[in-house]
């Protein structure tokens, strides 16, 4: 049986979940025996194989049209989609923005920021992504496995991937289940 292909990507987040992924340390050698690690934001191949992957992993929330596209592409090309970390699962820190208005957030970021000069203006080029309300990944595409945590521990990530690689659905509980 060929090794399952794994692709990862990150949306609106801090990349901390991928850092936590790397924290599995030497176990990554064991993991590549089990899986075929394909595209990730920290390797050369950036997009999941067009002919499809087995496992897709998304970190971060969906907060603009570009994220939406990435999430949808990942969903289309993967059999099992994993939402990795609190931003992907719940909306996370990114979703704090939803308690206010998008316009206010943009103003704060592009106009009122201490480092912005008097002419600070909000980018409006039609070519760039348009900000949206922040959503958990499951609000945009179907998610098969939710792995909460800010970030999820390396142990949790290792457990989830090794279970999926061996054709089992991971069950997070007790020590492996935390949202913080």
């Amino acid at each position: 049986m060929p090794k399952p292909k794994v692709a990862t990507d990150w949306l609106a987040g801090c990349s901390g979940c991928h850092m936590s992924f790397l924290d599995i340390d030497e176990r990554i050698a064991k993991l590549v025996e089990l899986v075929d690690l394909r595209s990730t934001p920290i390797t050369d191949l950036k997009e999941p194989d067009e002919n499809g992957c087995d496992i897709g992993i998304l970190e971060g929330a969906v907060n603009n049209t570009a994220n939406e596209e990435v999430a949808k592409r990942m969903r289309e090309r993967c059999k099992i989609l994993v939402a990795l970390g609190d931003c992907a699962v719940f909306g996370g820190v990114v979703a704090m923005r939803n308690f206010g208005k998008i316009e206010d957030a943009l103003k704060r970021a592009y106009v009122e920021t201490e480092s912005t000069d008097a002419e600070g203006k909000i980018p409006s080029d039609p070519e760039i992504a348009r900000p949206t309300r922040v959503r958990a990944v499951k609000e945009v595409v179907k998610v098969d496995v939710a792995v909460p945590g800010c970030p999820p521990d390396a142990d949790v990530i290792y457990y989830v991937l090794s279970e999926l690689a061996q054709g089992r659905m991971p069950k997070l509980k007790d020590e492996l289940l935390h949202w913080h």
């Binding site: 939402a83 609190d86 308690f99 800010c150 509980k173 289940l177």
Partner: protein
């Protein structure tokens, strides 16, 4: 007894027990959120739903009384589904994002409940409605976004503290915890006891000091005793890296059962001023840092020279915030070994000398325990402001008022209890005795004397009309209060400094006779409680450290302040003394003026025992390591004794038994 079956286990409980408590007693876990073991069942959150055979729907176990033959299941698929559904709704209501919440990671009961249900996500996303954050309070932040409307804070404020500051306004999604009639918490009638903070299951009520400073797993909890006053509440110090993050009330402590006041919970965490970190010795008029050996040598040689010179030698004074061990060594060193002219405590017996005199005259203790308050149908408080001082005893009074207990307050001065009293009596100064005899006269004239008084009081002269003229209290009020006392089934009398400060014990003796007549004091029961002063006020009395501190003619004054604050009176009093030694934790005008300063540990940095106002001997444990050159008060006395070539023993337990105690007969053991 009632027999019911929970999860196949047969359980016997007393009638009136709820299914939840029955399950808990049998070691069966039912998750809860609004339930709290010190509050009345509320049934607000629906986390504790269980399946009861024959019942139409799931039942909240926290409000369901156990009944004979009841068969309960706590772990069926329907129950599990309901729990997850309840949590789903709660998470969808407000901002419950754990990643930036200070209680996430062990301290949050909501999060723990979700983990218990194995929830890896929220089935419903939040509705993104922002709620206000009230940061107006000095110590407490009220974040409505984290609130699950369990109303534990509201219930604790009323049921445990009797303050009724917190309430709820509006309905549905707009409902919100409010202070008073929706004013900022910092401008409300809140008394900063922090009980709401301690019962909040989420991060809705957090304190400014400890928020984000450490999760449950990062901190150490040390059970100890509060040294804020003579009540002696049980506390837990929450410590991280030798920093005191937070103080919580110990729910299991016999005295306070979890509640604390502002003085116990928050004040020790505020800026206490400049610490003395090294011994200081005055050389050529200037205080300079010195080694312990140098400082002890200077003090020892001066004490040695003044030894035994009664009246012109040593006067020694210790704070009643020091542990018994330190007070005992202090007494041994200065009274027994150095024969000092005066050896006393900072309180000079102002709250204990008089009751002590009465107890010795009676040949036995006469006071009851604080727990009497909980059974009272009438409380008479005289010369004590329980809203300002000994606040937890005040909570006990305030919390029983809604149950119909009457409150009579006698105090010529402003007193926080006046506003809560059914009868607020403000007699002219120094007329307490006449007012009390006037109340006796009413009871006697009604023919309702329960126990005859010991003293002789001129009842014929103390008619309500005459007493009214003497005291300025209306005659009708005297009659009504007298009648209330005569009718009360379980009256409790609480007295304080205002009564014991009087020059002669007659007013206190009259209070005891009034208590006897009203049935609060006989051979089987005492419901008379004296509030005393600071944490070891009682121990100071038992060790006979209760004389007046009259410095006249003394050449050396040794003030063992510990972390106590000197009064202006004390500062002025020692102004002219030729040689002043101050053993203190904090810089003050006294340490500035001292010839030698010895740096002492604060309460949290030393261990020892305290005797509370009831006579309960309690342990205070060490939670913090003192700075390098700072020593515990006991260690300082021991070092000083060693420098003088004096041996001290540690028989403080026996020493506490040598004097007739004021409170419970078996206390102090």
């Amino acid at each position: 007894m009632i027999t019911l079956t929970i999860d196949g286990k047969e359980i016997q409980v007393p009638e009136g027990t709820t299914v939840l408590r029955a399950a808990q007693q049998a070691g069966i876990h039912i998750p809860t959120l609004c339930d709290h073991k010190h509050l009345f069942p509320y049934g607000g959150c629906r986390m504790c739903l269980v399946e009861v055979e024959g019942a139409r729907t799931l039942q909240p176990s926290c409000t369901l009384p156990a009944a004979n033959g009841m068969v309960v299941y706590t772990n069926t698929p329907a129950v599990q589904e309901a729990r997850t559904f309840v949590l789903t709704l709660i998470f969808s209501e407000r901002n419950h994002f754990c990643m930036y919440c200070p209680v996430s990671g062990g301290d949050c009961e909501l999060q723990n409940a979700a983990y218990g249900q194995g929830m890896t996500e929220w089935p419903l996303q939040p509705n993104w409605q922002p709620y206000p954050v009230d940061g107006s309070h000095e110590f407490i932040v009220l974040d409505h976004n984290r609130c699950i409307m369990c109303r534990r804070c509201v219930r604790a404020c009323g049921e445990l503290v009797g303050n009724f500051t917190l309430g709820v306004q509006e309905r549905g999604a707009s409902s919100r915890i409010i202070a008073d009639l929706d004013v900022p918490l910092g401008e409300s009638t809140c008394i900063s006891c922090g009980t709401c903070l301690q019962v909040c299951p989420t991060g809705a009520i957090i304190d400014r000091v400890s928020a984000y400073q450490g999760r449950l797993k990062d901190v150490t909890r040390i059970k100890s005793t509060c040294v804020g006053c003579s009540v002696g509440c049980g506390i837990e110090m929450i410590v991280r890296d030798n920093r005191l993050l937070r103080i919580e009330g110990d729910w299991d402590a016999p005295v306070n059962q979890g509640v604390l006041c502002k003085i116990g919970r928050f004040e020790p965490l505020t800026d206490q001023g400049e610490r003395i970190l090294t011994p200081l010795v005055r050389r050529n008029g200037v205080l300079k840092a010195a080694t312990w050996d140098e400082a002890l040598h200077v003090v020892a040689s001066r004490l040695q020279a003044m030894k035994g010179r009664n009246g012109s030698g040593i006067a020694a004074l210790a704070s009643t915030r020091l542990p018994v061990e330190a007070l005992y060594s202090f007494k041994q060193l200065f009274a027994d070994k150095l024969d000092s002219g005066i050896v006393t405590s900072i309180e000079e017996g102002v709250t204990t000398a008089l009751p002590g005199w009465v107890a010795r005259k009676l040949g036995k203790p006469f006071e009851g325990t604080l727990d009497e308050i909980h059974k009272a149908d009438l409380v008479l408080a005289i010369g004590v402001d329980l809203v300002e001082n000994h606040q937890v005893a005040g909570f006990f009074v305030k919390r029983i008022l809604p149950q119909g207990c009457k409150l009579v307050v006698i105090d010529p001065y402003d007193n926080g209890l006046h506003a809560l009293a059914d009868f607020s009596l403000r007699p002219k100064k120094e007329t307490d005795y006449d007012l009390l005899v006037g109340l006796m006269q009413v009871i006697a004239s009604l023919g309702m004397v329960r126990t005859h008084p010991i003293g002789t009081h001129d009842l014929t002269r103390h008619t309500p009309d005459n007493v009214s003229r003497m005291t300025g209290v209306p005659a009708e009020t005297i009659r009504e209060v007298g009648r209330l006392l005569a009718m009360a089934e379980r009256p409790v009398f609480i007295y304080g400094k205002g009564l014991t400060r009087a020059s002669f014990p007659t007013a206190l003796e009259a209070l005891l006779d009034l208590a006897r007549m009203a049935g609060a004091l006989d051979d089987t029961r005492s419901a008379v409680i004296g509030t005393k002063g600071q944490a070891n006020s009682t121990a100071a009395y038992l060790l006979e450290l209760d004389k007046a501190f009259d410095l006249k003619g003394h050449q050396v004054a040794y003030l063992a302040l510990g972390d106590d604050r000197p009064s202006t009176r004390l500062i002025e009093h020692v102004e002219g003394v030729p040689f002043l030694v101050v053993q203190a934790s904090y810089a003050s005008p006294l340490t500035d003026r001292a010839d030698v300063v010895l740096p002492a540990a604060i309460w949290a940095e030393q261990a020892g025992h305290y005797v509370n106002l009831e006579g309960r001997l309690q342990e205070a444990r060490q939670g913090l390591t003192p700075p390098r050159d700072v020593r515990s008060n006991l260690a300082i006395f021991q070092a000083l004794a060693e420098a003088l070539g004096i041996a001290l023993d540690g028989n403080w337990r026996e020493a506490l038994q040598s004097r007739v105690w004021i409170g419970q007969p078996d206390a102090c053991r």
